[in-house]
Symmetry: C2
Subunit: 163 residues, 2 copies
């Protein structure tokens, strides 16, 4: 994905990568919400879908701040992660196993995003892009909160039922 | 990657997935260490290579505890992440940009592993696999420490130089 000789180009290529990723996630989340059987998990996916729409808008603002048009770049890693969620949905034989697998797939996606937004925010700071760094920090906080929420849901009910 | 109808099957399929992942990472780390220009980063990749060998052994012990032979399962996500590190190595035009890109790729891999080992440890606990849960917890701590170390290296020198 990166094709870059300066930090600014590296920043832009990673921004395009996560922009593509967020769009894939936007498409996947309604299906994951539909497949989830635990009400808290269904709600968490629905809430995160709305949150992701705001995150896409933040990315568009950052492209704007750089005078670049917002466009994504195919990223095999995120496609593999989203694919995993789809496989869980077709293969799980019980609701509990479905939920455990969906949470695992979603947390892998969240951690991918935590790594990406952490890197992007740090680079934005180094490049003196204060507004972009602030926007990226907001999204980073949301991704961490989502990961923690999924942890809580997994620990409290899903895993216990699936065992 | 998952093909599972019970939590135990889900556990096994994710174990095979991360086993494949660790083997890919073992192959990539020496190349990343060779490409890194900051001495601390070179050292961090070398140290993590040795650590990864221990992590592979822990996974083999867990396969043994389950009376299964240790085998990996291709995982597109981890292959995409490792591929990203390779692209950085061919495309970066300066040592500083190389290091910034390598750290970004390595942190994405670390976060993938943090998500996977967190999930696996939680499932091992639910399945009453205490020894496996302990081993997975040890690796999880190592991955988190590696991510923090990469953060420190990035913040202290690499990003500043690349800007």
């Amino acid at each position: 994905m990166p094709s870059a000789s300066t930090l600014q180009e590296l920043f832009l290529s990673h921004l395009q990568d996560i922009y593509h990723g967020e769009k894939q996630i936007l498409k996947a989340l309604p299906k994951m919400a539909k497949s989830a059987t635990t009400p808290e998990l269904k709600l968490a996916f629905e809430k995160h879908h709305d949150q992701t729409e705001g995150q896409v808008e933040r990315l568009q603002r950052i492209f704007g701040l750089m005078n670049k048009s917002a466009r994504g770049k195919t990223c095999e890693a995120i496609e593999g992660l989203v694919e995993e969620g789809k496989e869980v949905m077709t293969e799980a034989q019980s609701g509990e196993v479905m939920d455990a697998g969906l949470i695992a797939a979603a947390q892998a996606v969240e951690h991918y995003e935590i790594a990406r937004y952490g890197t992007l925010r740090s680079w934005a700071e180094q490049l003196g892009m204060k507004e972009a760094a602030k926007l990226l920090g907001q999204t980073l906080s949301e991704e961490k909160q989502t990961d923690e929420l999924l942890n809580k849901i997994a620990m409290s009910s899903v895993n216990r039922k699936a065992a």
